[in-house]
């Protein structure tokens, strides 16, 4: 049996090899055989990561590629470092990839002869990039894996090249993400100029020899650029709804479920390992800046989510809202905050992937993802409707879903820093969950009146989508509802099974340990952890807040669907207020999402400049 360190490179190597095999096999084997091979490959990867997760325990697995180990604190070798949070995220990636492969067994029309393996091969390549990013302990490798998953994601977004909209979305996605990645590479270059190291831990240790100056702050902002763009923090988020609106549904499941979350993970991983020590960026400055950014992201995402009628855009903005909550929680830097965010992300991955999968059922049946156009047309898809409602409730934070547990733990931790923060969690969950419930009520149950088409000049309707399947007569493949159901069950298990919370709690403590990470990479004895293990149990307040946000979501959805009677003065007042807010606040915000490449690049630049000024003022 090989040692755990020897197994660590395999989660990157296995899907890479699988992608190569599938491209070849797709030319020779029939489609069913290719799909079975791809699914088996994904299952192998999942089993491998389960083994690594079990073996890693509370420590870290360090693997030096090619035996180029560290000497006297200096290294030129490439290091992979797996702790439970990184391995766990890679495990989440592999589970979702396996689910998506099963989901898309019968999803696309028959691929062109001789290219049956292209789509699963791209998915495995995507998986390799994401797993590599979760496991790397080297800044430059992080850039390479980031670009690997990026390039595959651009290709997957524009997979249906016969439709102009996916091409447009993929191009915007590609340009904005790659520009941010090059900014990060500049930042890595600056860090190398200061320290002569590329490993995260080694760079962090070498920074200690110098006081924090303009170079370190500039390098930090530049390195963070790609992470914040990937995690879709405002104002770096513009690419995300465009890409999600047009990507094939199975790809949306992966992008919203794990890819965006990898950006959140990268933000924290790089801060904690590189910049958290002396000579880096002070914790207070990081916390203040990222918390403001997170709150802004959460509010923008939630407000924009409520405005959407294009179902995929709606779900995409809800992801942005939740990313804001995670960034806000993680910015507080304590193990309990990290544990809450980790649980929240795990639960959210299942729920959001399930919701996208069910949207795919609608697209498959009706060739539309428009909430207005689909009014009442989903009545015959009972199972999909029930699952969609369950997904909306889980998104709103209904206990005992994993999202609710993550939200409860994060709220509890955030309330210790500022008492009003849980209100933000409740508001964002209620708005995003409410928007999903509203869509479910209209589409699957035909509730309320037929919504009047708005004549707004800033709207993506989502009707007249290219159906991703060409044969409307056939029944919806069973896998397309079975996989979302299983994903929702998974999200439920995260909340119900206490083992998950406990494991993530201890993983969060290890994740935040700057000194221990460095010691493990250098092969010296790590100082014992003194921080307490965060509690990840259900609390009464957490359950009540979860129920509160779910109830709010239900009320919001009901108000939107069955508009309250005009005769009540309160309803009239609320409507006038809503109309004013719509005109003065929401419309300008929607106009900013212009779909124009130049605008998005401008916002990226403005955002980086603002971050630079904010951090420079605090150091």
């Amino acid at each position: 049996m090989p040692s755990t360190a020897d197994l660590l490179p395999l989660p990157v190597a296995v899907p890479l090899a699988g992608a190569a095999v599938l491209v070849l096999a797709g030319r020779l084997l029939p489609r069913t055989a290719t799909d079975i091979l791809a699914t088996a490959w994904a299952a192998l990867e999942t089993a491998l990561l389960c083994l690594l997760w079990a073996r890693a325990g509370d420590g870290r697995v360090v693997s030096w590629a090619g035996g180029w180990t560290i000497h006297d604190g200096h290294s030129v070798g490439i290091v992979l470092v797996g702790d439970r949070l990184g391995i766990g995220l890679a495990l989440l990636v592999s589970v979702l990839v396996a689910a998506v492969l099963v989901y898309s067994w019968r999803y696309f029309e028959e691929p062109p002869a001789g290219h049956g393996g292209t789509f699963p091969a791209l998915l495995l390549l995507f998986e390799a990039g994401m797993c590599g990013f979760a496991l790397t302990g080297d800044l430059f490798d992080a850039f390479v894996f980031f670009e690997l998953m990026g390039v595959v994601a651009y290709a997957l977004t524009g997979y249906r090249i016969e439709d102009p909209r996916p091409l447009h979305g993929a191009l915007t996605f590609g340009v904005v993400n790659s520009l941010a990645a090059y900014c990060s590479l500049l930042g890595i270059g600056l860090l190398y100029a200061r320290t002569g190291e590329l490993g995260m831990a080694q760079t962090g240790a070498a920074l200690a020899g110098h006081r924090t100056d303009a170079l370190v702050v500039t390098a930090f902002v530049l390195v963070m650029a790609s992470m914040l763009v990937k995690s879709a923090a405002v104002p770096f988020h513009f690419w995300l709804p465009d890409a999600h609106a047009v990507a094939p549904t199975p790809v949306c499941m992966l992008m919203s479920g794990v890819m965006v979350e990898l950006g959140v993970y990268g933000t924290l991983r790089i801060y904690l390992t590189v910049f958290a020590g002396p000579g880096g960026v002070p914790a207070a400055a990081f916390t203040h800046t990222l918390a403001v950014l997170g709150a802004l992201t959460a509010l923008t995402g939630a407000v924009m989510c409520w405005q959407q009628r294009h179902l995929k855009r709606l779900l995409a903005f809800s992801t942005i809202g939740h990313v804001g909550l995670w960034l806000l929680g993680l910015s507080l830097l304590r193990p309990q905050d990290t544990a809450g965010a980790a649980l929240y992300i795990t639960g959210h991955a299942g729920v959001k992937a399930a919701l996208f999968g069910l949207t795919g059922v609608l697209l498959d049946r009706h060739g539309s993802v428009d909430e207005y156009g689909l009014f009442g047309r989903g009545r015959d898809s009972r199972a999909a409707g029930a699952l969609f409602v369950a997904g909306g409730l889980a998104l709103a934070g209904l206990p005992p879903f994993g999202t609710a547990l993550g939200k409860a733990v994060a709220e509890h931790a955030a309330a210790e820093r500022a008492g009003w923060l849980p209100a933000l969690y409740v508001l964002v969950s209620a708005l995003t969950g409410g928007a999903v419930l509203r869509a479910a009520l209209r589409v699957f149950y035909g509730a309320g009146v037929v919504p009047e088409p708005s004549h707004s000049d800033v709207e993506t309707s989502g009707d007249a989508e290219e159906p991703e399947v060409r044969d409307p007569q056939r029944p919806v493949p069973r896998t397309m509802t079975a996989v979302p159901a299983l994903l929702l069950l998974g999200a439920l298990a995260v909340g119900v099974w206490p083992g998950v919370g406990r494991a993530l709690g201890s993983a969060a403590r290890t994740f935040g340990d700057h000194a221990g990470y460095l010691a493990d990479v250098q092969g010296t004895a790590a100082p014992a952890l003194t921080t307490a293990l965060p509690s990840t149990d259900w609390t009464l307040t957490g359950v009540l807040l979860g129920v509160l946000s779910t109830a709010l979501a239900a009320v919001l959805a009901a108000c939107a669907v069955w508009r309250p009677d005009r005769r009540f003065a309160a309803a009239r007042g609320a409507r006038t207020l809503a109309a004013w807010g719509d005109r003065r606040l929401v419309l300008p915000l929607r106009r900013l999402h212009s779909g124009l490449l130049g605008d998005y690049v401008t916002w990226l630049t403005v955002g980086l400049a603002a971050l630079l000024i904010a951090l420079a003022a605090q150091t």
Partner: protein, 114 residues
């Protein structure tokens, strides 16, 4: 070490970004992305430069000869490969956009908004 390579890299990055922001042609925009990327080459090579150093190839020079940093050169090579992939993929998307919509002006692509 001189500050000039840093300033040059910053200037090239800003020139590339300016081009992308004002571009009215997608081929030009992708080209500007490549320009922005070339700032990373300048910065990395500037970081590894050593006055009087020669190329880090020890086949025909004594091992004590001062050489420039080989690590950044490996980084730049990887960077070039990554950049080529990205540019090629984006340009192929532009070709498809031209085929489907008949335009390469980003201002004409207004399907996704709000």
């Amino acid at each position: 070490m001189s500050i000039l390579p840093f300033l040059a890299a910053g200037w090239i990055l800003l020139a590339g970004i300016y081009g992308m922001v004002t571009s009215r042609n997608l081929v030009h925009a992708v080209g500007c992305l490549a320009v922005a990327q070339s700032s990373t080459y300048v910065l990395l090579l500037g970081v590894g430069f050593r006055r009087g150093g020669t190329a880090p190839v020890f086949s025909d020079i004594p091992t004590r000869t001062p050489v420039v940093d080989p690590v950044v050169q490996a980084l730049v090579l990887t960077d070039i490969v990554v950049g080529t992939t990205v540019t090629a993929l984006l340009l192929s998307l532009v070709i498809q956009i031209r085929k489907r919509t008949g335009t390469v002006d980003p201002e004409d692509l207004t399907e996704l908004r709000g």
